[in-house]
Symmetry: C2
Subunit: 406 residues, 2 copies
């Protein structure tokens, strides 16, 4: 009789990321470790009381439907609210342009499912979001990368990439994960025009768009695409698939995000989602709607901005004070992360273990580079820890880096 | 400038079910239609007050963690509870053998993801669960079917199928969806022995195992497999991947299910789930644990059994009273569904529209047959509608069938 699965069954391995990085990150939850590694919102800003009230109202007034199966497309009032919000941002859409997903990660997965045939080429910024790499590896994607500077992806290199045949372009224009960098207005324009000219869709991932701490709001790529073609079509049917989430403005434990796209794309995503999980939790959708569809929501987001912007400032101050010469970092205008570049030749992966022993953690930058590189970089999260903890953590990290300078 | 997605982008179509059936089923939610089509639990048995209490406790005492990201594996106390419960059923497992999924549909999807390479052959009962067909079609599966009688899959035909090379066997042993039929104890034994001899894993889908209304409890296939090899291994590392759900015993709106499997399989599923949705809603997991980890849960399940068993009896009575000669049906000992066979040559799909016009709906049986056939069959749900509605619905359905007899 056989007992060992690995010997016995040819489980697929080609389509699953090794996740070494996630295994590594388990270390960061050890006691006393100050972790700048996660992408966690601060629990301090979770509106717990609002959720309590919402649970009372939803279960009392709508219990039977809040606990029942729902439609794959999502809770209709929530889709309507998101469509109304999009209109405020200059994007005329209907609820049919909106799909509710089980977190942004599912949005990325479903996009992989409807777009990517094994071997298809997808253009990503380098570095880019780890979760997207993981999602699309499952579909046998080949990554093509475009380099990055302080204004985001270098759009002067776009055309050379698009000429090689690209299935879609993936971009995080606001306070990018992992770098914190924002794509400039000029480059957004180049991006939408070039993508249109080559007939290549853009996937715009915008989890932090509302978390800007300074500077002027820039229109989302989907809005600029729409403006370019607005006279043609009253309801959006352009070239961009936009996704955002409630994880950073309400709570990640809800697992709620959404996609805005032309209806033809939404229909395909709905079919894919039927096979993936039938529908997103009705209960969490009802709760999110109850909490978010209020004037209070604006105040709440303003409050998050205040808290995170202070933490960003504190982290940048601490970096200035404690980091040895030759270490550089981005100074993001929003979001949750900043990006540290160590002196050439240093390997952030190699000092990770030492750092954890010194009770501080980060994500080594290499993991955000789908084609390799970035060994001397790291991502730091500034939203999760309280200011005094941030200072202590940066002190510890600076010491580890100093001790390991070549 | 291009505007039409279908012209412009080669969206994949090979991996998405057409879902014609689900489109059809939208008709069943028209007002006044008595629907036996859904797989819906009765909202009458949702423990709304328990969820209210749970929300108050969870948010007051554990708000920050209930609203934060969680581990991909699932909420540890919930995994521990499920491991304890399995032990009561005669299966020695640890929490590491348990993965929490976003509904059973996700469990099926993830299993497809880790097992199925394009063209792989999977053995299913015919008819079988529609959601499984949908999930695995996305991975390019080839179905091999095994016929069914009143004791479940005809295991005397198993060996001939297994000889052709099968990736895994999918079975719903208790009150199968769609037929309501239960796999006999003798056949369960043949199934586990044969699967072991051929080194083919079994996926056991058991959403209704606790909803038995008469007759003696039969051991799950995973338990029989374990008994066969118990002396070898203290913690389960056998041949069966078991999945069940909170949808039918608490509420489907939570989107909570679980997989029990050897740890090697759980690890692969966890990696796949990271790419699919990172983690299942922490909030709904905390709520489910709060509600289910109580002695009250037993009473609750007993109550569901009472309600559904009455509805089943009422439906069977009504079928006996109103159906014309030549119409047959199963008399399930549990679950949510029974299976109607119309006289040879009648097509349940063809009378579906007439039925909806007569304000009654069902699922045409053809859709449960991955290789075709079953045109003269239909699935009826008896859990959702109240008894008096069931009687009226069966009257209407009987009239439609009579009017369309050949």
């Amino acid at each position: 009789m056989h007992t060992l699965w690995d010997e016995r069954f040819a489980l697929r391995t080609d389509n699953i990321s090794s996740s070494a990085i996630r295994e590594l990150l388990k270390l960061t939850s050890l006691p006393d470790v100050i972790s700048f590694a996660g992408g966690l919102p601060a629990p301090d800003v979770f509106p717990i009381d609002k959720f309590k009230e919402a649970a009372e109202v939803v279960l009392t007034e709508m219990g039977p439907s809040a606990l029942q199966y729902g439609t794959t497309e999502g809770y209709q009032p929530l889709r309507e609210m998101l469509a109304r919000n999009a209109t405020k941002y200059g994007l005329q859409i209907s609820p049919d342009n909106v799909l509710i997903t089980t977190g942004s990660q599912q949005a990325l997965d479903l996009l992989g499912r409807i777009f990517i045939n094994r071997g298809d080429r997808v253009l990503v910024e380098s570095p880019t979001y780890l979760g997207a790499i993981q999602a699309w590896n499952a579909y046998g994607v080949k990554y093509v990368t475009i380099p990055f500077d302080d204004d985001g992806m270098q759009t002067d290199l776009l055309e050379s990439r698009l000429r090689t045949g690209i299935k879609f372009i993936y971009v995080l224009p606001n306070f990018q994960n992992p770098t914190g960098v924002t794509l400039s207005r000029e480059r957004r324009k180049v991006l939408v025009e070039m993508a249109d000219a080559y007939g290549v869709p853009i996937v715009e991932d915008d989890p932090y768009g509302q978390l800007r701490y300074e500077g002027e709001h820039l229109p989302p790529v989907v809005v600029m695409d729409n403006e370019m073609r607005a006279k043609e079509v009253p309801i959006y049917s352009g070239n961009v698939i936009y996704t955002s989430t409630f994880s950073k403005i309400l709570a990640p434990g809800l697992r709620l995000a959404w996609v805005v796209a032309p209806t033809e794309v939404i229909k395909k995503l709905v079919q894919a989602k039927q096979g993936a999980d039938l529908n997103t939790s009705t209960l969490t959708q009802f709760l999110a709607y109850q909490v978010a569809n209020t004037p209070w929501m604006k105040t709440h987001i303003r409050n998050i901005r205040t808290v995170y912007s202070e933490r960003r400032n504190v982290m940048i101050e601490a970096l200035r004070e404690y980091m040895p010469e030759g270490v550089k970092w981005t100074e993001p205008k929003g979001g949750l992360f900043l990006w540290v570049t160590l002196p050439e030749g240093m390997d952030s992966g190699a000092i990770f273990k030492t750092a954890v022993e010194a009770k501080v953690a980060f994500v080594p930058g290499g993991s955000f580079h789908p084609l390799g590189g970035g060994e001397n970089t790291m991502r730091l999260n500034f939203s999760y820890s309280k200011p005094e903890i941030i200072v202590e953590g940066i002190k510890r990290l600076a010491k580890v880096i100093k001790d390991n300078l070549i």
